[in-house]
């Protein structure tokens, strides 16, 4: 069964989204980190070290984006949606189609500027989205959504066997 899986990659543009959000989040972190080190140590040397540390982490994160992109994939099978991700901590998430409660398609400003959307899948029992697939072209998201919802609607339309 595993061998039959046809993994789909994300849209290459998603790397730009990740790049942007990584850079922004490290920039937000940079100033407070440097300043608080200066306040604590009163030394420009240590502040420089802190600053360099943050920049180093940022460079590392940016370097890992390509790897992350390579590992990120999803697959729609007969019974479930598979989502595979992670560089160091790898995971394969399997969501049975019948358990999907609703599907969200949404996009932030960066997504929109690149013409991408994200798709979130919700099941019962979980407080937040079970899985979010970033970086989909709108037509891909639409067909995925239709496919996922078709199963759910079809199943719900069948009368319960027992009652």
């Amino acid at each position: 069964m595993i061998d039959e899986v046809r993994w789909e990659r994300l849209h290459p543009g998603v790397r730009k989204v990740w790049l942007f959000s990584t850079v922004v989040s490290y920039l937000v972190f940079l100033l407070p980190a440097t300043l608080s080190t200066y306040v604590l140590t009163r030394s420009w040397v240590w502040s420089g070290v802190a600053c360099a540390g943050v920049v180093g982490l940022a460079i590392l994160s940016v370097a890992l984006i390509q790897r992350q992109y390579e590992f990120w994939s999803y697959a729609l099978r007969a019974d479930d949606l598979l989502v595979r991700k992670g560089i160091f901590w790898r995971s394969v998430l399997s969501i049975p189609r019948l358990r999907i409660q609703h599907v969200d398609v949404h996009s932030g400003p960066i997504d929109r500027s690149l013409g991408l959307v994200q798709l979130s899948v919700y099941t019962a029992g979980a407080p937040a989205a079970v899985a979010t697939i970033p970086g989909l072209a709108p037509h891909e998201a639409e067909s995925l959504r239709t496919a996922l919802l078709a199963t759910a609607t079809q199943a719900a339309a069948e009368p319960p066997p027992h009652v």
Binding site: M1, D79, D80, V92, S94, G125
Partner: protein, 504 residues
């Protein structure tokens, strides 16, 4: 919605609720009132104390009065509708099909007047339940029958006399806990710490009150210091404290679960217990997400275990504060069960699951090493601060830590196992405190296969799955087996369909 419901179909809660609410409010603010009284006696406060008392009294009476005159409920076709609020009117509509759980609660006063607090739980999350406080016994029974009479489901019959009538599905007793069993299980815990903390609390509070009178406080401390406790006194006090803690624990267990009984009618479980405050819970079997059979090392020595069912309802804040044993979405199906009975109870709830005959698959042997490492590392971390002062003793402590970790890893590995058939996933775990989790496969919402960097080196992975009520994990399986198990779980879960059949 309210326009559709004729005025005469709205029902009211019982007028005595006002009285019960006032008593409940006073009970809850007993500390505040106590402090006011003490201040008044101490001569402080003056006129302001009276004003505060008046305000407190007005509030205690006004709020229940308003809520009595503005609370209505009705059953409108397939919905239970609750109307509350004086200025901002609120309508809460609960589809009958979504009801998870109906609880009856009777406090001592309730029982004096023949009243019941009814709470109707849905899966929609905390704060979404409908609480009707209080109804007469007859109204409550009638409401429960109506609420559960959805789409051809057999109506529950709760009156024992009516159950004897022919043609009426009656409640079959499954298990009960005798007073002796409850006391034995209570004796396995010791509430000595609770007594000490309570005592310290009272002392601290007393000193705070005497804060102005420094002399008295100093005198009290001096008196304690002058006692000059001898070793014999310390031992006697310690033993007395342990004994009292033990008695308290037994009494608490016996009072909370007094008269515990579990019964089944067609597709529902009914639980009833309590000496003073009585709980009565009704749980549709097909809403059960997982069934837990657990025991501690001590419980096993005397041959007992505990069974709990999780269903997706969220205990209201009030209840979990009053009764700590009733937190989350767990319903106790037996607080003191003879271990030999566990298989029978499980088969009653999930027919077709023969617990004693199940064979469990072990996980990868490398799991022993991983849990050995996890245990000794966490204990060593605890010892490090000690090493700062007593390096030699801390170093010596490493030996028992390593021995303990080895024993733990061996025991836990021998116990850890999983079993999957067409309808159930069963996971067995725990080294000293055993836990057996049974998940009906149709309850699985999603499953995941996870592998950390170290796990990848050993070629193993963990499987975790989420039901409507929390997570179940199988750690450290061979990676490829884990992938196959993931596929099996999803395939079987899909085959069950979205409709739960016959309680499973």
């Amino acid at each position: 919605m309210s326009e559709r419901i004729a005025a005469d179909r709205w029902r009211r809660i019982h007028p005595l609720t006002i009285f019960l609410e006032v008593v409940r409010f006073l009970g809850r603010s007993i500390w505040t009132i106590g402090i006011f009284i003490l201040i008044a006696f101490a001569g402080g406060g003056g006129d302001r104390t009276e004003i505060l008392f008046t305000l407190l009294g007005v509030f205690a009476v006004a709020s229940p009065l308003i809520s009595y005159f503005t609370t209505f409920y009705a059953i409108d076709g397939e919905h239970l509708v609750l109307r509350t609020g004086l200025f901002q009117r609120k309508l809460r509509t609960v589809p009958l099909a979504n009801i998870q759980h109906i609880d009856f609660k009777r406090g001592v006063l309730h029982r004096l007047f023949g009243l019941v607090d009814v709470s109707v739980e849905t899966a929609a999350g905390a704060g979404s339940e409908v609480t009707l406080s209080a109804l007469t016994e007859r109204d409550a029974q009638a409401l429960r029958t109506e609420l559960f009479a959805v789409k051809g489901a057999a109506p529950p019959v709760l009156d024992d006399d009516r159950a004897k009538l022919p043609g009426v599905p009656h409640h079959r007793p499954i298990t009960a806990a005798t007073l002796r069993d409850l006391i034995v299980c209570g004796a396995l815990h010791n509430h000595a710490l609770r007594i000490v903390l309570g005592f310290l609390g009272i002392v601290a509070f007393g000193f705070q009150l005497m804060g102005e009178n420094q002399k008295t406080a100093r005198g009290a401390i001096g008196a304690i210091a002058r006692l000059e406790p001898t070793p014999a006194m310390i031992v006697v006090t310690g033993v007395a404290l342990l004994f009292a803690g033990w008695v308290l624990s037994m009494a608490r267990n016996a009072i909370t679960y007094y008269g515990f009984g579990l019964r089944r009618s067609s597709d529902r479980l009914h639980v009833k217990y309590g000496l003073f405050t009585q709980f009565e819970q009704t749980l549709p079997i097909r809403r059960i997400q997982t069934l837990d059979v657990s025991d501690t090392w001590l419980m096993r020595r005397v041959g007992f275990c505990e069974v709990q069912a999780s269903s997706p309802y969220f205990a209201s804040v009030e209840r979990s504060a009053e009764n700590k044993t009733q937190t989350g979405g767990k319903t106790v199906l037996s607080p003191a069960l003879h271990a030999s009975e566990a298989g029978r109870i499980v088969a009653e709830v999930f027919p077709g699951l023969d617990l004693p005959r199940i064979t469990f698959h072990p996980v990868a042997p490398i799991h022993r090493l991983r849990s050995f490492n996890a245990v000794w590392m966490s204990w060593t971390l605890l010892v490090i601060p000690v090493a700062w002062f007593w390096t030699f003793w801390a170093a010596l402590a490493i030996i028992p830590i390593l021995l303990y970790a080895a024993l733990y890893a061996r025991t836990a590995y021998a116990r850890l196992g999983w079993h999957l058939d067409a309808r159930f996933l069963v996971v067995r775990s725990g080294a000293w405190n055993h836990l057996l989790t049974i998940v009906p496969i149709g309850r699985v919402q999603f499953a995941s296969w996870d592998q950390g960097p170290l796990q990848r080196r050993f070629g193993i992975a963990s499987i975790s799955l989420l039901t409507g009520m929390g997570k179940v994990e199988i750690p450290d399986m061979p990676a490829e087996d884990a992938r196959l198990l993931l596929d099996d779980i999803v395939r079987l879960s899909s085959a069950t369909g979205i409709w739960s059949i016959d309680g499973v």
